[in-house]
Amino acid sequence: MSTIALTESHHGATVTREWSGPASKRIVTGYGFWIFILSDMIMFSAFFATYAVLLGQTAGGPTGHDLFDLRNVAIETAFLLASSFTCGMASIAADTRNTTSFQLAMVVTCAFGLGFLVLEGQEFASLVLRGAGPTRSAFLSAFFTLVGCHGLHVSAGILWLLTMMAQVFTKGFRPDIQRRILCFALFWHALDIIWIAVFTVVYLLGSAK
């Protein structure tokens, strides 16, 4: 890829800048996937708006203050944050083509992600058992939709993570596999950003009131 000097005229002044050809496939792929992530966040914003509107509609049932266990939420948050960090380590290992470190970091990421899902599943199960399932009130419907949608994204992320481990195992660090790892890392980090909004808006603000 050679660098080309471009000369253009801007309002009489001649400007010379360098252009090194069209962006590489990796950059175009990352940009496209970034657009997808932003659209996903816009979908989540609709769920957040629904939750905020229905927050007070408890139909005489329990409120967030009665239901949420902040210690459980803190552990979930720690799991997701740790998995985000190990996912970053996996990206570095992928860029340096270190298979052992990559697979190890991905296994740890997967373990933290599964731990998060187990805790969330236990929370949902205990809510349903206490009669605070999604059918109890509009508030709980919105709660299960919002938090459950994030949980579904984490589940999909774990399936993707296992797929990437298998692909690196069978195909190695080919350029197309590297681009998929980049997209997976973006997806996983984005899930952690959405979780920040969830634990703040749903759990911390919900139990403060």
């Binding site: 932003l38 914003s45 708006a49 350029p175 973006l186």
Partner: protein, 131 residues
């Protein structure tokens, strides 16, 4: 051309999530560690503020929202590598547009629904009218 490292090194811009051009492994690990440290600090502060009696109670929701926004910024910079450099303009512009839509959807919904709630006749009066 076939080596993705050369592709990255030669290109003028960086994809979101991609490392910056001249980052050694140690520098990148330090970047992630910095992000992790800041994120832990902000999360711990959030959980502390939510449960404490030490601060003026009405300020807690505002404090929590500010801490969450700060932590999102930390994640964007240190984990997703969204930077202000000229090479990241496309990603930043897309992010700005996304933030605009998110603010419109959430803010607009809350505004409209609060207005409707305010202007709606109380439910018992509505029932009376239907009799």
């Amino acid at each position: 051309m076939s080596n993705p490292h050369d592709e990255v090194a030669n290109s003028i811009d960086v994809a979101p999530g991609d490392e910056h051009l001249e980052g050694s492994i140690a520098q990148r690990v330090i970047g992630y560690l910095t992000g992790l440290g800041l994120a832990i600090l902000l999360t711990a502060t959030s959980f502390f503020v939510a449960g404490t009696d030490l601060v003026w109670q009405p300020s807690i929701p505002v404090a929590l929202v500010v801490l969450a926004l700060a932590q999102m910024g930390v994640h964007l910079v240190f984990f997703l590598h969204i930077t202000t450099g000229p090479d990241n303009t496309n990603n930043v512009l897309a992010l700005a547009f996304g933030v605009l839509i998110v603010v419109l959807v959430i803010g607009g919904s809350l505004w409209i629904m609060a207005n409707l709630n305010h202007n709606m006749m109380p439910m018992d009066q509505l029932m009376q009218m239907q009799r």
